[in-house]
Subunit: 399 residues, 2 copies
């Protein structure tokens, strides 16, 4: 049996199991102190009513002869693709053709499966710290990525230079895990760099819905030349609470072609038509309901809820004089461990002193070794309680 032996070189990701283990042990010793997880990377608010209603309606249709639907288009129903194209136009003035948008079961699948359409020998560059899926899917192909490090010295927004020339460049904006966001001028530099070197940018916009400052980009297609070098991957997971419903999409502009005229849009469409059979009709109806007036109102409330939590966390960090970035246009806050302690050491300190669980930054790459990630995805009540406990640390210190 000739297996893919690159899998055997993959580092076991102990991060979340180790976090769970230490949390369990602490709880066993301190049953009086309720744990609060500010480590959550998942949504916790229910789906908008209009989405639930649309999906129930779709279920009913599937149960009746006249309205039953079998195989749908592998790349998504036209009404959903059109709704997304309209949203881009309204939200950030970006004009996309509906059929440049290809529906999928989520950004994680697309970010992984997109590698199929590139040369196995293609080189890749990505940020450190990074969403582990970018790294692991490339290690599975036997690749050794180049990294651009996000550090205090570059305000956690590394810019391109000759050391990261690569066929494929991953950008996550706003960033998971740091929560920072490139502005238009910075993204323009990345786009120009990609075009100069014939690179394709895989632009992960999963957190674009959290961008609040009007001068920041919501889509890479707001940038001149991006239609010639960038693929945008997005998801309804964080925007509308779809982490358990599963729907996302990828934009591959028709103007994205190789020097000899091969259309990447055609390649991706061929990949999806051959290896995928489309997203559940029921789920696509739910996704389309997001873009109704009622849906967008619900989404705005949904996002405001998490944003209020993040804001509260940031205000607390300010009072503590702890250094951090992110939070403003992101559900994530990237906190420097006070005294530049190691991530795990600070994780243990926080857990012991406050019962708060965070994510050690080292789980996202070596550049995270003195950082932790906090998120706004817990409930308002829990987040408030966590912030009080953090502020109490000042009293403890004085005592």
């Amino acid at each position: 049996m000739r297996i893919n032996r690159n899998y055997l070189q993959l580092p076991e990701n102990y991060l979340f199991s180790e976090v769970a283990k230490r949390t369990r042990e602490f709880q066993a010793h301190h049953p009086e102190m309720p744990i609060i997880k500010l480590s959550i990377g998942d949504v916790s608010r229910p789906l908008p009513a209009v989405v639930v209603q649309a999906m129930k309606q779709a279920c009913s249709e599937m149960g009746a002869s006249k309205t039953f639907r079998g195989y749908g288009p592998e790349i998504g129903y036209p009404w959903l693709r059109t709704a997304i194209a309209d949203f881009y136009q309204k939200q950030c003035g970006v004009k996309l053709e509906a059929d440049e948008i290809i529906i999928s079961d989520g950004a994680k699948s697309d970010l992984s499966n997109l590698l199929d359409i590139f040369d196995p020998q293609a080189t890749v560059a990505m940020c450190d710290p990074v969403y582990p899926v970018y790294l692991d899917t490339n290690l599975m192909l036997g690749r050794r990525p180049k990294f651009f490090r996000a550090t205090n010295a570059n305000n956690f927004l590394p810019m391109p230079n000759e050391s990261v020339v690569a066929d494929i460049i991953y950008l996550c904006n706003p960033s998971n895990p740091t929560g920072v966001c490139y502005n238009r001028a910075q993204l323009q530099q990345w786009v120009d760099f990609a075009r100069e070197h014939g690179s394709v940018i895989l632009y992960d916009a999963a957190y674009a819905c959290f961008v609040r400052e009007p001068e920041l980009p919501r889509s890479i297609y707001e940038i001149d030349g991006a239609r010639e070098c960038a693929i945008e991957i997005c998801s309804f997971s964080k925007m509308a609470g779809f982490t358990g419903v599963r729907c996302g999409y990828t934009v591959v502009p028709k103007s994205l072609v190789t020097a000899d005229g091969v259309s990447l849009h055609q390649l991706w469409q061929r990949r999806q038509s051959t290896k995928f059979n489309g997203v559940s009709y029921i789920v696509q109806r739910g996704a389309a309901a997001i873009f109704t007036e009622q849906g967008l109102t619900a989404v705005a409330k949904h996002l405001a809820y998490y944003q209020r939590n993040v804001q509260m966390i940031c205000q607390t960090l300010d009072k503590l004089h702890w250094s951090y970035v992110g939070g403003k246009n992101s559900p994530y806050v990237w906190v420097r461990c006070p005294g530049m302690r190691g991530a795990w050491e600070f994780f243990d300190f926080l857990l012991r002193e406050t019962g708060i669980v965070c994510t050690p930054g080292i789980g996202f790459g070596t550049a995270g070794e003195n950082y932790i990630r906090l998120t706004g995805f817990n409930s308002y009540a829990n987040t408030r309680a966590a912030c009080r406990r953090l502020l109490d640390l000042r009293q403890k210190k004085k005592r």
Copy 2:
């Protein structure tokens, strides 16, 4: 931009567009003759009520704070995996551990994505005629598969021999497109052959639900040694009308290991956990409802409906003295073109004389050049009308 240039070598699959084009042209010239499609490879009956009910319930849960669910396990919820394991035990006495079963969005995805866990240099063998996905996904990796031909000479059930030694062997049983089914003794030969040569069998059981004869296998794990060499891929598409709902599963036994002890189960679990985020909670609830008493009763009716259609087609072919195989344990009938005409020539003849649309066998490989595929997936009324038109051919001939 360094793309996967194997994509440029893929043959454009004109089959279905050509079928559609010829059908359209005929209809334009003969508006008086209603077309009947016996080419359909999709289900047409609505979902069982118990499935619809379970999915609606799941939608409601997702709309309420207390019952909302975010990310589920990437490899599926335990209650669905357990339900499938129980079904195997009851249906064919096969004992599987629930966690040997990994849930996905369908057999097409799994059959394609499974290639990720094998060496890029691995060799493959498959039947001719064949479900085009097996072939195209391997061409995308630059592979040249070996073929074992299903012909009249081997009763369309080719057996292994040295010319098809390969790392990966595809078996579809009952077969798409021929509708024939290996018996246990024949499958035993394939399993022994695979074990002798260190091959892995990718066993596509998407049509196992149509097997009626008790002496025929429903699962490859009914065969001695299969747990050491075979991966079984299955789907609820044809069984319960899930083609538009999207759910399936793959069984990778824990006893399937390489000579140096690497577990293929672990590899597939790692692949899915890294590159996939699980199937919609709503869809998994629907799938679990299939295995309730009410669900299984509905499925039996559902299958009987299509089986009655296929039986009617076979009886008609018998009366016409047209040679065919399949139909008995499959929704598919593989018909030899009378006079060994070419598949497209006979397609045109049938369309012109009867208004019936079939699928030319050549679309599944060169071994299908004198065959067409008919299916039982249309409505009973349409299938009956089609059979009458076929019988009328005898009268036309006499006149």
